[in-house]
Amino acid sequence: MTTIPLAIPRPVHPTGIWSWITTIDHKRIGILYGVTAFLMFFSGGIEALLIRIQLARPEQNLITPEIFNQLFTMHATTMIFLGVMPLSAAFFNFVVPLQIGARDVAFPRLNAFSYWTFLGGALILKMSWLTGSAPNGGWFGYSPLTGITYNPGHGIDVWILSLQVLGIASLAASFNFIVTILNMRAPGMGLMRMPLFTWMTLVTAILLVLAFPVITVALIELFFDRAFGMNFFNVAAGANAVLWQHLFWVFGHPEVYILILPAMGIVSDIIPVFSRKPLFGYGTVVLAGVIIAFMGWMVWSHHMFTVGLGPVANSVFAVTTMMIAVPTGIKVFNWMGTMWGGSLSFKTPMLFALGFVTMFVIGGISGVMHAIAPSDAQQQDTYFIVAHIHYVLFGGAIFAILAGVYYWFPKLTGRMYDEKQGQMHFWLMFIGQNITFFPMHFTGLNGMPRRIYSYYGGLGWDFWNLVSTLGALILAVGFLIFIYNMAKSWRKGEVAGSDPWDGRTLEWSIPSPPPEYNFVEIPHVEDRDDWWEEKQRRRERRAVPVVAGGSDADEGHDIHLPQPSYWPFFVSLGLFIGGMGLIYLMNVDADGIRTLNWAALTVTVAGLFMGVVSVYRWSFEPVNDPEPDGGHAAH
């Protein structure tokens, strides 16, 4: 295969920006994912703060209604697709290969492609603030409000194309992780010896590859309606306006578990370490995760109890939704069982993990409340739901992700974060979270609808809205401390050592930060918490302090890693350009007359051409130069 001339030679940049663009090292890609996702997360946070400031007092006019609608659409889309999902992906990338004792993921270049495509999708969405056409239809994009009649302009097209590009990124990453986890485990690591985070990554990836095609099709249909005047959601042609909701939530509910299952995995790994006990009922916790993922397909209509599905459908979905509380509860109980009788250390990761458990319980209980279809009719689309989703996604997913950030920070950087600032961050977050979101239960039950840009005084909403806004400011302060702590500790923190937490899983057996090849020798796994057991055995055998990994850098010279490549980046760039072009493909005037935008078509074709050429180059590029025939394993 080396006979094929490459248009661009193999990159040889060990450092600098090009080394990041061409990297296919899962750890570096994890860092890219994490940093980008946090930037996006903060941009979504600023959107949230603007919303909260507008709603602090009744009848404020700081923000126009149009901008407000764009703000909450962008806030939700950002937090879900550009915040929580890629933050989980950052952990998948960084942690999973280390936990299963692998040197990289199964498809390193596909992994780089996932990241760059994610970045492209994120930029398509976020750049819409600059072009003035940010989407305004809500993250759920209900038709016919998102149809061309009620939403002319290109805001919704931005949303569609951004989600499509992000979908490609997520699908590629998920295929990669399914294969990595199934196929690259160290010898002896049977499925039931995998760390919980790896398990939940596998489950999440499977959910994702099945859920995303559904939204892909729904978005294609919406795009065809808007751009070409097809009839999928055209009520005048006999279409059913509710079909969009079904397709959206068939995707959307598994998506909720895509957001929360990795968080549960992180917490299931942290609590045992800081309790010095194995996870209580490992098998049950795994099984509960799998059942949650499976049942996630049977409950989507609980988002639609009020659309008039009829009492039979409502009852069925109410019961399935209640049933899903059982495996979720089992997880919580098993975390408690892990702590029970343990020796609990309250370092920042454990604090955040406990914050997750306590907040998630509240979100879970209000979740079961929504399963009660009749009383849900009083809560649907009120701030009560806003409270619920923020307890599960902010108090839940984000707390767990922060727990993971603090937990794996020493492994990632080789340095320790500042414990005092970490604890301060936690308490500001914990207090801020409850001050911001708990009052929303009250405003919701007091009948405050969500997604309103303004409200009148005297309805009993004034006080609690002000409280919520103050809470949001506390959260903002907490995050400033977090940023400061991370930025400072990354460069100047104390040297952490390979195993600062007395960890239980394989990633703590290698130096921090891990060498490029992770493991000098692929370990043989004999137990569930293999590294922990190994340490106990060594203690028993001889009273020498355990030295992790035991490698020095010279030892890695024999290991051949896949080499960096330009092509994943260029495929993603092509997709980004093509996506940008497609947004503006058709111009629709006030009378519904469609004209083709030739410039946009040219850009689209150019972008796709670039993508196709790069894919072609990619597929004929050997993974390992100059080994002839060395690398056809990883297309």
Binding site: T3, A106, F107, L171, F175, N176, I178, V179, L182, N183, M184, R185, P187, M189, V209, L210, A211, F212, P213, V214, T216, V217, A218, I220, E221, F224, F228, G229, M230, N231, F232, A237, G238, A239, N240, L243, L247, V250, L506, S509, E521, I522, P523, H524, V525, E526, D527, D530, W531, E533, E534, I559, H560, E627, P628, D629, G630, H632, A633, A634
Partner: protein, 216 residues
């Protein structure tokens, strides 16, 4: 945890946990995912079946004998694909090329049938994607299937060209062909479903509304 020295020699696959190749695992995961893609398109089609208000309906436009022929062509292309693969593993490159080429030709024939069909629907049946719900759902579903076939034809042809390079396709490296074959067969089984659900059920007169055509 014991330290094992996993000998990694170049030019060989690192042994995987399941003993299966990464790429084949990925392909099957992709096919599972693609099931959901076509599943959603078929669901949309079925939900809107017989809900069109105006314009042509399946019974007005479908020509079952013609589509039966194109279905037959696609089914046979699946056979020729599997033959190509079988000959490759048996080391007969020449037979492999012949069968592979005929697969690609049959795929292209199917696409030609589809293009003829689409054009015929538009011109004689007055059915376009914008006409009614049937038009939108039908063209999108079969159009995406056609897009899959097109990609498959391109993939097969690129393997064919590649096979003329020295060492491009060898009996030992049959996985490249295996993956393309899996994809090709998947496209074929999707059509098996579409042919029955969309075409045969579409024209079946027992369905309410099917026979009551407002078209012409």
């Amino acid at each position: 945890m014991a330290n094992a020295t996993a000998a990694v020699t170049h030019g060989e696959h690192e042994p995987t946990t399941t003993g299966l190749d990464h790429r084949k695992l990925l392909m099957w995961a992709f096919l599972g995912s693609d099931c959901m893609f076509f599943g959603t398109l078929i669901a949309t089609y079925l939900v809107y079946k017989n809900k069109s208000i105006e314009g042509a309906l399946p019974i007005d436009v479908f020509d079952i004998p013609v589509t039966s022929v194109s279905t037959f062509v696609l089914l046979m292309s699946s056979m020729s694909m599997v033959m190509a693969y079988a000959w490759l593993t048996r080391g007969n490159l020449k037979a492999f090329r012949i069968w592979l080429a005929s697969t690609a030709i049959m795929g292209a024939t199917f696409l030609a049938f589809q293009m003829f069909e689409f054009r015929d629907f538009a011109v004689h049946g007055q059915l376009t994607p914008r006409t009614n719900l049937f038009g939108s759902t039908f063209f999108t579903l079969t159009g995406f299937h056609g897009a899959h076939v097109t990609l498959g034809v391109v993939w097969l042809l690129s393997i064919l060209f590649h096979s003329f390079r020295k060492g491009g396709v060898t009996p030992e490296k049959n996985l490249d062909v295996d993956l393309a074959a899996l994809y090709w067969h998947f496209v074929d089984i999707v059509w098996i479903v579409i042919f029955t659900v969309v075409y045969l059920f579409g024209v079946f007169e027992g369905f309410p509304g099917a026979a009551v055509s407002t078209g012409h």
